[in-house]
């Protein structure tokens, strides 16, 4: 606020903090030695210390627990007979009756702090180090109390009274203190209890823990947390099972409303609810933001909104709430609310609020509104308004250049290139050319791809010089994506034309992916210097998340049977989630790349790696994508039965995201299956459904639109409506050409060739097939090339038997690729065509070499039956019957003919089988 600026981060003393102080006094009573009275063992003593530490660090909620909740936590967490402590706590609380009691209490609290000059500490004297976490906490409490006015002390007194009175009534039935139910984590637990604590001076509890962890794991988990957090947070975390429980709960919440709701204390302030400390609240918000970005639908819109409302009421100057609101409404597709909240947040905060916000003293006080533009642009992008988004992002580029905010510029450029990549924008020169690009100043207009390239390079360069590691990595990934589908041409083309190889370069793709992979080693060696860009990154790149090392110490009373809170979290990895996510997407990109290049095993392997190693870290849509890839692989290589059962599993797993990836995959499978079985009506229906999924805005969801168009044409083709099919394919080609979707063009051309082949115009089909071939060549689409070769062979063959040898040669050339990487359909097609070639070759003597033909046909028919591809299976059996007929093997001929008849009947009377 401008008018009345309040220093953020002030620390208020509350009843809850008073009770923590009371426990602290038990923990480190002044003047006592060794293990103080109530503790039985050192381990127990440590346990209390950890509990207190955790209490001051956790950011799982925004309000402090009430006394009953607190006692409950304590019991659950304690693991030792806690009656004495609770009695002591309540009696101490109730002895605070007058302001003077409070004064005395805090004066005593000062006694348990070691003096600043206590260099010589006796061996086993218990003292809180001034600079330890608990020491700092205590000092802040004492200081906050000393700063209180008399009115403040009175308020504290009333609040303590309320706090105390609320306790007994609503206490949930306590579980038995549960030392024993932590079976899974017993090991770490016992390890901890054996901890060597001979030297009992409480110098930095945290340091001990950290050192221990370091010894076991080499890299402490939270080294990558934002620095402020790091200072305050230690390496205690929830046991893994708790985390999963948490997330599970979150997922349920999506459909039933938020259960945390019920636990929310009354909003009535008279019931004595207090916010936690500033950074605890911020940490909570941060965590929520991460969850939303990872999987937005796991947070319930209204449930979270209520929490935010409460928070805003209690802390009107905490503007980050608006940002969270924005995220929340965005993830639930509420455009208007998202827009409002975004504007509201940046109006208040000027882009300079957050963990790491230092009130502008010397730095420019003009705010960082360019971040607002960046966010707005990404929001418009998210909601499918690419034109608007581009306008906004262009403005963001301009403003960040004016404010010389290079970090923002780098992110903005990345965002723009992402936008250009995802959306077909036919001409950007107007806006982009004006503001950014070193080349346009020379007066050269660039094509969209070239601009994309320039932008990516610009972003990469900036990110590298600013050491924005995540951005560098994701830019490399984007680069790889770019290289995958674009032929690079020189940007400037004056003078004599240089030699150009018009091909994509797979080596470049691999190189870029490898470069992005370096990120992981950076994080391994680097430690916590990685925090500067943390504050920005959350919202900036959709796939980049903030390094959020903070802890969920799930302390709610509901999780009664949860195991011991004091497990060290045996996290399998010390890499921040965002980095893992990036790595995961690099694997996905590899899978995609190999899919395009035509190596099925490599593609499957990479998808598998993602699904097994990165499933937890990656965003739900990425994870779904990996599943989709695996399912598609299954369908192509193992037939539909397996694919559908796998799909069912995936659908259950990704309930909340079923809209996008999984649904798409399901429709694709259904369509393929229907086409093969000859259920054309169903196929058309599925195809229409697919088309509806795409946004109506031009230029958005291009992939989906192409897919729908291709499938539409294919359906028409199956229905022998050649003219319509051709016209659909033709307009599809025009669209792909307009939006520079070259890879898609290759398959559209192939489809056109296919259409002409089926309609009997082999001569017209040939050029299409050749064009498709050349596209495949320049984009290294080997598998597609093989299938184009097959089509070409068929076309030659249909020109007459004189071309049979040529066709045969073509097929034999493609065979290694097809047999190595092709799916069932492609292989069997190749077999059939090969057989056809042999049969139509006048020099081929059936009776001598019939084994060659029959073998191929049998193989083909087996595979086709697996696919239930009736049309082609019928063809195979027909050919088989012909061969047998020529050989005079009547019995076998009849058998083949019967199979032929079966398939033809099935094709002509498509009945919906149950599946």
């Amino acid at each position: 606020m401008v008018g009345i600026f309040i220093q953020p981060g002030a620390f208020a003393i509350t009843p809850h903090k008073v009770s923590v102080c009371i426990l602290l006094k038990i923990y480190a009573p002044p003047g006592l030695r060794a293990v103080p009275y109530p503790f039985i063992s050192i381990a127990q003593h440590n346990r209390l210390g950890l509990f207190l530490l955790a209490l001051t660090k956790s950011c799982d909620d925004i309000v402090e627990p009430k006394l009953d909740e607190f006692i409950h936590q304590f019991r659950v967490a304690g693991g030792f007979s806690s009656h004495w402590y609770i009695n002591h706590l309540t009696s101490s609380l109730s002895s605070l009756l007058s302001p003077d009691d409070l004064f005395n209490f805090f004066a005593e609290m000062r006694g348990i702090l070691a003096g600043p000059d206590s260099g010589v500490v006796e061996d086993d004297q218990l003292m809180l180090d001034l600079n330890s976490n608990l020491g700092i906490f205590l000092r802040r409490c004492v200081l906050a109390f000393n700063l209180l006015s008399f009115e403040g002390v009175c308020h504290l007194l009333t609040n303590i009274e309320i706090y105390r009175k609320e306790a007994p009534s609503s206490c949930p039935p306590y579980e038995q203190p549960c030392l024993d139910d932590s079976s899974s984590n017993l090991e770490t637990c016992s390890e901890y209890e054996n901890m060597d604590l001979e030297n009992f001076v409480y110098e930095k509890v945290s340091e001990e823990i950290e050192a221990r962890k370091e010894a076991s794991e080499k890299v402490p988990f939270h080294l990558h947390a934002p620095k402020t957090l790091l200072d305050l947070v230690d390496d205690i975390d929830v046991p893994a099972d708790l985390v999963s429980k948490h997330s599970e709960k979150g997922r349920q919440a999506g459909s039933y409303g938020d259960p945390t709701n019920n636990m929310l204390p009354d909003t009535d302030p008279s019931s004595g609810t207090f916010l936690r400390t500033n950074w605890q609240v911020q940490g909570y918000l941060q965590e929520q933001a991460d969850t939303i970005e990872k999987d937005g639908s796991s947070v319930s819109l209204n449930g979270f909104e209520i929490i935010l409302q409460q928070l805003q009421k209690m802390a009107p100057e905490l503007h980050r709430v608006h940002f969270l609101r924005y995220l929340n409404s965005q993830s639930h597709d509420d455009y208007i609310a998202a827009l409002e909240n975004l504007h509201c947040y940046f109006d208040y905060s000027a882009g300079t609020e957050g963990f790491d916000f230092v009130p502008p003293v010397s730095s420019n006080s003009y705010g960082k509104y360019e971040i607002a533009l960046l966010c707005l642009g990404m929001m418009q992008f998210h909601f499918g308004h690419p034109k608007l988004a581009l306008e906004v992002l262009t403005e963001a580029v301009r403003v960040s250049q004016q404010q010389s905010n290079d970090t923002c510029l780098a992110y903005t450029l990345a965002a723009i290139s992402n936008l250009l990549f995802e959306n077909g924008i036919s001409s950007t020169s107007k806006m982009l050319g004006l503001s950014y690009s070193p080349l346009t100043s020379v007066g050269i207009t660039l094509s969209v791809q070239q601009q994309l390239f320039v932008l990516l390079r610009g972003s990469l360069k900036r990110a590298e010089s600013l050491k924005l590691k995540r951005l560098v990595a994701s830019n490399h990934l984007a680069m790889a994506k770019f290289d995958l589908t674009h032929v690079q041409r020189p940007l400037l083309s004056f003078g004599p034309k240089a030699f150009m190889k018009l091909r994509t370069c797979p080596v470049d793709v691999c190189k870029e992916i490898r470069l992005s992979y370096h990120l992981i080693s950076d994080f391994g060696s680097e430690g916590s210097a990685m925090t500067v860009d943390g504050a920005f990154s959350t919202a900036w790149l959709k796939n980049l998340q903030k390094p959020m090392g903070s802890l969920v110490l799930s302390l709610e009373s509901g999780s009664s049977n949860s195991s011991n809170v004091f497990q060290f979290c045996a996290q399998p990895t010390s890499i921040p989630g965002s980095v893992l996510q990036l790595l995961g997407s690099s694997y996905l990109l590899r899978a995609t790349a190999w899919e395009l290049y035509g190596s099925a095993p490599l593609s499957r392997m990479n998808a598998l790696v993602h699904a097994t190693c990165f499933a937890d870290a990656s965003s739900s849509s990425d994870a779904a994508l990996a599943y989709v890839k695996l399912i598609q692989h299954l369908a192509v290589f193992k037939g539909y039965r397996g694919a559908f059962s796998a799909l069912k599993i995936a659908e259950e797993k990704f309930l909340s995201v079923s809209k996008s990836q999984i649904l798409l995959c399901k429709l694709q499978l259904l369509h393929d299956c229907a086409l093969h079985r000859g259920q054309l009506k169903l196929a058309q229906q599925v195809c229409d459904e697919l088309r509806v999924l795409a946004s109506p805005v031009t230029g958005v969801d291009m992939q989906l639109k192409t897919e729908a168009g291709l499938r539409h044409a294919r359906t028409l083709l199956a229905a022998s409506q050649f003219r319509e099919a051709a016209s659909v394919a033709h307009s599809l080609f025009c669209m792909c050409y307009g939006y520079n979707l070259q890879v898609e063009n290759a398959s559209v051309l192939l489809l056109l060739a296919e259409i002409h082949k089926k309609s009997g115009n082999a001569v017209v089909g040939l050029p299409y097939a050749l064009a498709s071939l050349s596209f495949c060549q320049s984009f290294n689409l080997d598998l597609l090339k093989a299938s184009a070769t097959l089509t070409l062979a068929e076309l030659w063959l249909s020109l007459g038997s004189s071309h049979a040898t040529r066709a045969l040669n073509l097929i034999h050339g493609a065979f290694p690729m097809i047999l190595g990487h092709g799916g069932l359909e492609l292989c069997s097609r190749a077999y059939i065509i090969e057989a056809k070639c042999y049969l139509s070759d006048p020099n081929f003597n059936v009776s001598e070499n019939y084994e060659v033909v029959i073998d191929s046909l049998r193989q083909a028919s087996d595979e086709l039956q697996l696919l239930e591809y009736h049309e082609m299976a019928a063809e195979a059996f027909y050919l088989m019957a012909m061969v047998y007929d020529k050989l005079g093997q009547l019995e076998k001929r009849e058998e083949a003919a019967a199979s032929f008849k079966k398939h033809i009947l099935a094709l002509n009377n498509p009945q919906d089988k149950d599946d």
Partner: protein, 579 residues
Amino acid sequence: MSSKESCRSELRIAIRQLNDRCLCSASKWAAEQLTGIEQDPAKFTPSNTRFQRGSSSIQRRYRTKDITTTPVSGVSYVTTPVMVEDDLVDGDFYLLAKSYFDCREYKRAAHVLRDQTGRKSLFLRCYALYMAGEKRKEEEMIELEGPLGKSDAINQELVSLERELSTLRKNGTIDPFGLYLYGLVLKQKGSESLSRTVLEESVNNYPWNWNAWSELQSLCTTIDILNSLNLNNHWMKDFFLASAYQELRMHNESLAKYQYLQGIFGYSNYIQAQVAKAQYSLREFDQVEAIFEELLRNDPYRVDDMDMYSNVLYAKESASALSHLAHRVFMTDKYRPESCCIIGNYYSLKGMHEKSVVYFRRALKLNKNYLSAWTLMGHEFVEMKNTPAAVDAYRRAVDIDPCDYRAWYGLGQAYEMMGMPFYALHYFRKSVFLQPNDSRLWIAMGQCYETEQLRMLDDAIKCYKRAADCNDGEAIALHQLAKLHSDLGRLDEAAFYYKKDLERMEDEDREGPNMVEALVYLATYCRGQKRDEEAEVYCTRLLDYTGPERETAKSLLRGMGMESTQSGHPGMDIEHLPP
């Protein structure tokens, strides 16, 4: 409409009753209206009408038409305040409590009345409790200021009051005053619809409590809610409707109501101030100024609404009048937010923006939700080139009242200043949505579209068109329209707008570069269209000016002269044949 006499007697009784219940502001309001009723000059000596003389002049000046139509007479009419007064048993305690209350010792007052059962005592006890809670709340607001802003202190008495009053209401033993208090409590607790019903009940039973009306009015946030209220016909309802219309920005309707009410309450300062408010919203600054001059003459120590007067003076740039006003309110009561605001305005007019911010801040310290101070402070920050602060101030204004189009407009301007025109458009859009008839807003939006970063000229043209349609006072829109069209090569449209602009300038007797520009364009345009005679008219007009345009005109004329001497232009002759 009821007669003046009946209004007068109703009000007289009501004031006493309101006073008994310590509803001071309501009784103040009622008393103001009471003296606002026009006296019968025959019955009273001039000294009685002393206070009323001044206002007649303004009425003469501005009451355009006397509205005599009466509304449909009410079905259920409460004529005189009928209240069952308590018997005198608990009278003594009541008197003590009332004295305590008047001395602002609320808790003591409530304590004295703890066992009293009379309705009046009961109300006073509850009201005292409520006031005590309010007082404590105010104190706590400051005491409890948390690290992240003020935590929301609430009135601690609300819960018990609600419990008690709702049982009373269920028993049917609650009186209209109790209902008013109940409505107040409910409103603070956030149950608005129930509160509305309760307040409705209260005003239907006892219409003279202006406090209840104004609480009810603050709950009518949309016209639909207002229309759904079921209110008995009473002249107080007209006051209510007028004020509600004003809040809903239906200024003309509100003005009509007030003018109607002036038929009875001809000398009411309140009504005059409200009329001024409406006129201010309609941007009739001269009238507003006259009204306020009159008001100040009759009521020299008035502070209410004077901030609006200062805004008018600011807009008219009369610094000395503003300084007089500032001095006057400062001497009357310096710790009123209005006073601070007026002083802020004065400094702003003097160009001393830092000082003015200090006073706006003080106003906000006195009343955190003082809307116009936030907006005005935003303006000052804009002047001081401190845009982030300006944005913050405007945003606070918008959060207090999302319908404040000035603040939205300010936000847009601030962002435009920072070179973010596209971002600013969002805010301009908001402001024109709220005030679609204000040409300045449309022009600002058009200019935003026109900036060199955006160059979305077609959209700019749309905005200027809207501005031109709303009677653009400064005639920027027409000129811009003409210019944009000519930039875009749409010559005919450009000529059309230049011509319109020219006509307008002629009407208003304005000269200037725009005039020259329009003449030059029209001359060349007509020349290009071979309408030489018209072109000649424009050219000759241009000859009156100095500068390069004069030369252009001369050369144009020369060209036309040569053509006509060659007389090789039959087409022209045909064109100019008399019909």
